[in-house]
Symmetry: C2
Subunit: 219 residues, 2 copies
């Protein structure tokens, strides 16, 4: 009984959320702004990846970062050190961002003075995949130590993303991670996804990703 | 408006769940069975940890494993190779196990012939922390590559656990992970938690954990 009740509420919420997300996306497009939604497990390297990206594009591209966290400010503080604009959304226990929370965040950002907004979603491979944030592109990070079997276990996340970053490639020799096997498993779910293996620690492979992003931003 | 509706439903569900979990726990205790609920991020090493544990205790201790996964059988297949009894619960998109799902699983297990049941919860540091499964002890795994800042970001998970396993210690030299800092952060949230650093890959530190578990099982 409880399950059925939960699902009905969830469906209402998802339909409302999709509508709100479409409005956000249209509003940003009108202003010429690009917004990316970055999702990953806890500790896959979302913040390090954002900082690597900012270091390549800033200040030529004006970047704002919306950090979502259940209960801390640490990520926004790290991002602000790069010179990019950062805000922290505390989700207060919520396990994902929805379009309404993103709208609240956008209202606090100087959007007229930005070219690119990056949302760092809550660290979670399940719930964030279900909620459209209004971003133009969904990006996910899988880190090598997590294993190459994750597409079998979290198929929705791999299906809804436009780009897969495979981070921590410098740790591969300490694992049985198989990049070819991962690629096969991901492409079976999502044939069009772009895949960039890289290491935010060493910097290896970061250029391929930032070239792709520059192309997207037409710079 | 949607937020308020969601929270009310969630509170009803949590209250119902707590009641059901208490019933499960009492029923298992009456049978002399121990049940552990294992939680972690995707890829922290839950299945490897369970297999390491089984390899020490099996067949003297009769072990059953309940694997929760959104959409795959890979973990149950790996566990079954050890000779332990394994079932796979497909959560069909749900991001956590609740007591009703655990009860469904228990009804499919030969509980009269088991001494220890290990639940491998869905890979997620957020939602599973809110739902009592009926287990006697909550165990979480944090893996070194995830970083020592996770207690700041997922405080509820660190607060509800009796044991913290710090896995993948063999990767420490490739990270800036600080075990002392982690311990401080964890103990601030949960002064009584037991902490076992180990590597499921090399086996280092596994004995300390299994000694603790044997003590719990009075064997």
């Amino acid at each position: 009984m409880e399950q059925i009740k939960l699902i009905e509420v969830k469906e209402d919420i998802l339909a409302d959320n999709d509508k709100k997300a479409a409005e956000i996306r249209a509003g940003l497009a009108k202003k010429g702004l690009m917004m990316l939604n970055l999702m990953a497990s806890p500790g896959a390297g979302k913040t390090s990846f954002i900082i690597r990206t900012i270091n390549v594009l800033h200040p030529g591209t004006r970047i704002g970062v919306m950090e979502a966290d259940i209960d801390s400010m640490v990520d926004a503080e790290k991002v602000a050190e790069t010179g990019a604009f950062a805000i922290q959304l505390k989700t207060g226990g919520f396990c994902h961002l929805d379009a309404t929370m993103v709208e609240t965040g956008l209202n606090e950002m100087p959007v007229e003075n930005l070219d690119l907004i990056i949302i760092e979603n809550v660290g979670n491979l399940v719930c964030p995949a279900e909620f459209d944030t209004g971003a133009m592109k969904n990006i996910m990070i899988l880190s090598v130590p997590e294993g190459d079997d994750k597409p079998l276990k979290y198929p929705l996340m791999f299906s809804v993303c436009d780009v897969l970053i495979v981070n921590k490639t410098d740790m591969t020799h300490l694992t049985d991670f198989n990049m070819d096997l991962l690629t096969q498993r991901v492409r079976r779910l999502n044939p069009k996804i772009e895949i960039f293996p890289l290491s935010c620690r060493t910097g290896e492979g970061v250029d391929q990703w930032t070239e792709w992003l520059k192309n997207l931003l037409k710079i």
